[in-house]
Amino acid sequence: MEVKSTPSQQPNLLIDQAIVPGDVVLHLSNISTNKIKLGLGLRQDADTIKATNMGLLKHSRPNKYWVESSTKRYIPTAGDAVLGIVIDSKPDNFVLDIKGPNLAFLPVLAFEGGTRKNIPKYEVGTLVYVRVVKANKIMNPEVACTDANGKSAEFGSLKDGYMFETSTGLSQMLLSSPTCPVLDALGKKLSFELAVGLNGRVWVDASSPEAVVLVSNSIMNSEFLSDTQQKIMVKTLLKKIEL
């Protein structure tokens, strides 16, 4: 005997399930809350919310929905910290490539204590750790080397080290809390500096080249491994340089 519950109490069958574009995620006529926050991968279509990307549907109470997926390209979202490469410099801003559909603009004054007299000289090819300030589909995204309060907070150009490209899913895993197992295991034995961009770029720097290579390889290998597998993988690699 099926117990009929009121529409707003029916559980959403698709949460934490794999969905494809076109799947109806929410019927707006049944929702009790007034405000729904949609993240990446969802779109309103008349009185339903449909998925536009494939991935896992995630829900965070009370009213946030998004599709978790991993891609090689990045969709700029305000507030994200990304790694950009300088492509061009104009009088008013630097033009960066952030692996998105459009090039990003970094205003020359968007630095802590930035004035016309102390504009940094970023040549073509400089790797910069920036924060996305404004991003919408019509305009080029705007980035800055300051945090929301105007402080520099580690943003700026990254010198030395090694940068490699990965998927956005791996970047999210590296930035998740609690610390992901691969970084935990590496951190116990090695000391290194790491900058993770949500656009799928990772920068590593350490005192010796072997350490840089080892850290980069461990991170690249860890994308599809489980927690225990990651620990074992790091242990095997560390043995190779006798640590």
Partner: protein, 244 residues
């Protein structure tokens, strides 16, 4: 692998390779096969196999394209030989199909380029290409309204509809049709509430329909009905494939 030669007699329903008229060849799909492409997929239906790669969206549109929408560029590469009229026709069909399933207003003034390389051709090439392109777009994370699943049907002289014809069968049929149909969406609720019945007519809509040869109107609708049933099976296969 041993092959059996099956003699087709009068009144025998079996096809040259032993399938029934409604039976499709084994499907296989692998995504993320190319390292550098932003999205890639290889789709095989029996011996026919197409590799699709997607690059984009990249900023800037070509001359003459509407800058308020994203533009799609399709390149179809045959297995051997130069690009000729058939390839240009396939490119045009595919461009039209993809323009209807990609949300074009999401990334205005950008170009997404889809390249299809025919790895082997044993019939039903166009449907294999459309399916490969869709899987590659999914892999690349391009925003889509719905998925388009394609199927080819051949119509024999005695009115039987053969699904997913092989190359030998394609030469013998009287007419040939290829359909791209949207997949059936999952709904968040177990019962679809009465208010959303209006949306049902938009489900399983036809995105593309191409016919070669001449057929009666009733035959066309018969092919379409068989095609619809087949696309729901292919759609289920695709969902299972995407979970892994």
């Amino acid at each position: 692998m041993t092959h059996e030669l099956v003699m087709v007699e009068e009144g025998d329903d079996k096809r040259v390779d032993g399938r029934t008229p409604n039976q499709m060849r084994p499907l296989s799909c692998s995504r993320n096969v190319l390292h550098r492409a932003h999205g890639s997929a290889r789709w095989s239906q029996g011996e026919t196999s197409v590799l699709a790669s997607v690059y984009g969206p990249k900023s800037g549109t070509r001359k003459g394209e509407n800058p308020e929408k994203a533009s799609i560029e399709v390149i179809w590469k045959p297995r051997t030989g130069q690009i000729g009229k058939t390839e240009k026709e396939y490119e045009m069909i595919l461009k039209g199909t993809l323009q209807n399933i990609i949300i074009l207003t999401e990334n205005p003034n950008t170009t997404t380029s889809v390249t299809l390389q025919v790895m082997s051709d044993d019939g039903s090439l166009l449907s294999c290409g459309i399916n490969a392109a869709c899987a590659a777009l999914l892999d690349a994370g391009v925003q889509l309204k719905q998925l388009a699943i394609a199927i080819c049907c051949g119509l024999t002289n005695d009115g039987t509809v053969l699904l997913d014809p092989s190359k030998i069968e394609e030469t013998k049929v009287r007419a040939f049709a290829c359909f791209a149909i949207t997949n059936s969406p999952l709904s968040a609720l177990s019962e679809v509430t009465p208010g959303s019945d209006k949306g049902k007519s938009l489900e399983n809509g036809i995105v593309t329909s191409i016919t070669y040869g001449s057929m009666q109107e009733s035959d066309f609708f018969h092919c379409l009905e068989r095609g619809r049933a087949a696309t729901s099976r292919i759609s289920e296969f695709l969902r299972k494939n995407l979970k892994s």
